[in-house]
């Protein structure tokens, strides 16, 4: 965008470029940090972990000890902190004994399933949040009366509410969507109460001089002015909806999503902690992917505004 714009008419005073060099440096920083985490992880195991054996070796199988760490720190033993290569290899294991598909394929399908539930909850929650905020900025009375309940709704732990919702919706995916919605509407509501008031107050005098209706003021001024707030909230809501969906799948007994996978691998943790780690990584990747999707939409929508390239 930036290069195309810069070639058109040399007159404009301000151009916001993010040169490729800067993007490359960001990627490099990210890779270096990732490597640093791995180095610390394995460094701790090198000093105080379980005796090292060949990658993929089953404990107690008699495979030779390659390195015997000088210390024994419980928190970095193979049960609590498996070797990163063993976690990597776990993705290639069959997802359960005798299964055709490996853990990676299994997790991919589960993540996609969970994402669909989360995305539905995300859309519903965003819609509800937008409607609530719109009502609140037009009625101080309703705002004062209802916002405390909106806040209170989020102070109750979701694991206390999830079973209730599951009972109400009979353990279907609908319950999971509702839980994702429940976690999503809050950031959108709170951010948009501010966002829909974030316009330049002098612009209200301008629209008054046009005898503009409330609806005109909303769609021409309030809503466009609130978009940076909306996207900030949606980025929070995207990750929250994933968490909501994963948690909701537990009591709902939904067997196709990441929540069930996490519970299952939790039960088999003693024999194969790597698989739980693989599921945790998959959950993390799903959250980041959804976040980046919203971020991409934000860049596309706000690219023409000052400062839009940041964040």
């Amino acid at each position: 965008m930036a290069t195309a714009a810069a070639t058109r008419g040399g007159r404009s005073a301000v151009r916001r470029d993010r040169p490729a060099a800067g993007r490359g440096r960001r990627a490099l920083t990210w890779v270096l940090l990732f490597v640093a985490v791995l180095v610390v992880w394995e460094g701790l195991k090198f000093l105080g972990g379980t005796p090292w054996r060949a990658p993929g070796a089953v404990p107690g199988s008699g495979s030779p000890v390659l390195w015997n760490p000088p210390f024994r720190w419980p928190f970095v033993n193979d049960l609590n902190l498996p070797h990163v290569w063993n976690i990597g290899l776990a993705f290639l294991d069959p997802w359960q004994r005798g299964a055709d598909r490996n853990v990676a394929q299994f997790l991919f399908d589960a993540a996609l399933y969970t994402w669909k539930e989360a995305a539905l909850g995300f859309l519903l929650g965003a819609g509800i949040g937008l409607v609530l905020a719109t009502v609140f900025v037009h009625s101080r009375l309703l705002e004062r009366a209802l916002v405390p309940y909106v806040v209170a709704s989020q102070t109750v732990p979701i694991i206390a509410i999830a079973p209730l919702i599951t009972y109400a919706f009979g353990g279907s995916t609908a319950a999971v969507v509702v839980i994702a919605t429940y976690l999503t509407f809050f950031p959108v509501t709170i951010a948009m109460i501010v966002g829909l008031r974030s316009f330049d107050p002098r612009a209200l005098e301008l629209t008054r001089s046009y005898a503009a209706s409330r609806w005109d003021v909303y769609r021409k001024l309030r809503f466009p002015a609130s978009l940076p707030y909306l996207f900030t909230a949606l980025k929070i809501a995207a990750t929250a909806s994933i968490v909501g969906a994963i948690i909701g799948e537990g009591p709902g007994g939904i067997s196709d999503g990441l929540g069930r996978v996490i519970i299952t691998y939790n039960q088999y943790y003693i024999t194969g902690p790597e698989k739980l780690w693989a599921a945790i990584i998959a959950s993390g990747i799903l959250g980041v992917a959804f976040f980046l999707l919203v971020r991409a939409a934000e860049v596309a929508v706000l690219r023409r505004r000052p400062g839009a390239a940041e964040g």
Binding site: R202, E205, A211, D216
Partner: protein
């Protein structure tokens, strides 16, 4: 420019202000007498400047005419109608000290804003917006965004936007107050040219004596606490006026006359510490919120 730029309106004064008072109260207590006994008539096609020290209520008076605030007593008729009716009929174009452009809209889209609210169709909006931007000599900047323009250019966009729906009266509240002196003089010539081309009636609030004299057909001099009209000075400088007008003897005489009228009214233009009724307070708050 062949087509008339302003809507045809009935004969008679565009603005008739009679016995207007404005007080600001806190509780039962009157805090400020912003305006007292204001009478003023503005004929069609006039260029009237309101000038006076801070606190004389000139911005408040403009806002009363534009129905952005209401008088405590007295009447304001615009095109023979109450100010509110005139506002609902879209008789006003407003230009504020800050341009108040929407960052997310291009220059062209900003000028189209009032036309969208008026419900005009897209081809009309486009044609009209481009015509207005040609008028303020920003035809090459249609697709730019406000933050890509200088302060003077932004204010010209605001003027184009105010003229876009052919209001019968243009209310300008210190539109060039935030600009440097050179830009300001250039904008003065610009607004004069636009006024001559469009025939719009203009009510113009300013702190600047040279600006008031250069632009106006009449200068209304006000005094502070309470805000009153102390003098109305006819500016008989020949038209068309241009940069040379600023160097004529008559121009200097009139500048002196306005300055003496201000001094006689007890005002000092450097009296910046006072609050200009509620209007300036609101403006300060508004500007503070934007930064």
């Amino acid at each position: 420019m062949t087509a008339p730029l302003t809507a045809q309106a009935p004969a008679g004064p565009v603005v008739r202000i009679a016995g207007v008072n404005k007080t600001f109260s806190r509780g039962d207590q009157v805090v400020t007498k912003a305006l007292e006994g204001i009478d003023l008539e503005v004929a069609r096609g006039e260029f009237i400047s309101l000038i006076g020290p801070s606190g004389c209520g000139k911005s408040t008076l403009l806002r009363i005419v534009g129905d952005l605030t209401s008088p405590s007593s007295g009447t304001v008729l615009v095109n023979g109608k109450p100010a509110e009716r005139a506002r609902l009929d879209r008789d006003y174009g407003m230009v504020f000290q800050s341009p108040v452009l929407f960052d997310w809209r291009t220059v062209e889209e900003n000028v189209k804003l009032p036309l969208e609210i008026l419900g005009q169709d897209a081809p009309t909006r486009t044609a009209r917006a481009r015509e207005m931007l040609e008028l303020v000599e920003l035809g090459d900047f249609l697709k730019h965004h406000p933050y890509q323009l200088s302060g003077g250019m932004q204010q010209r966009v605001a003027i184009a936007r105010a003229l876009a729906f052919q209001p019968s009266i243009l209310l300008m509240d210190e539109p060039f107050g935030a600009l440097d002196e050179m830009t300001r003089e250039r904008m003065n010539s610009e607004v004069l040219r636009i006024w001559e081309q469009t025939g719009t009636t203009i009510l113009f609030v300013t702190h600047s004596i040279p600006e008031a004299v250069f632009l106006s057909s009449r200068v209304v001099v006000m005094s502070a606490r309470p805000g009153r009209i102390t003098n109305v000075i006819d500016i008989d400088l020949p038209r068309p006026r241009n940069e040379d007008t600023r160097e004529t003897r008559r121009y200097f005489e009139l500048v002196t006359a306005v300055r003496e009228a201000l001094r006689a009214g007890g005002g000092s233009l450097d009296d910046a510490g006072t609050i200009d009724g509620g209007a300036s307070l609101e403006r300060t708050m508004a500007e503070g919120a934007v930064g």
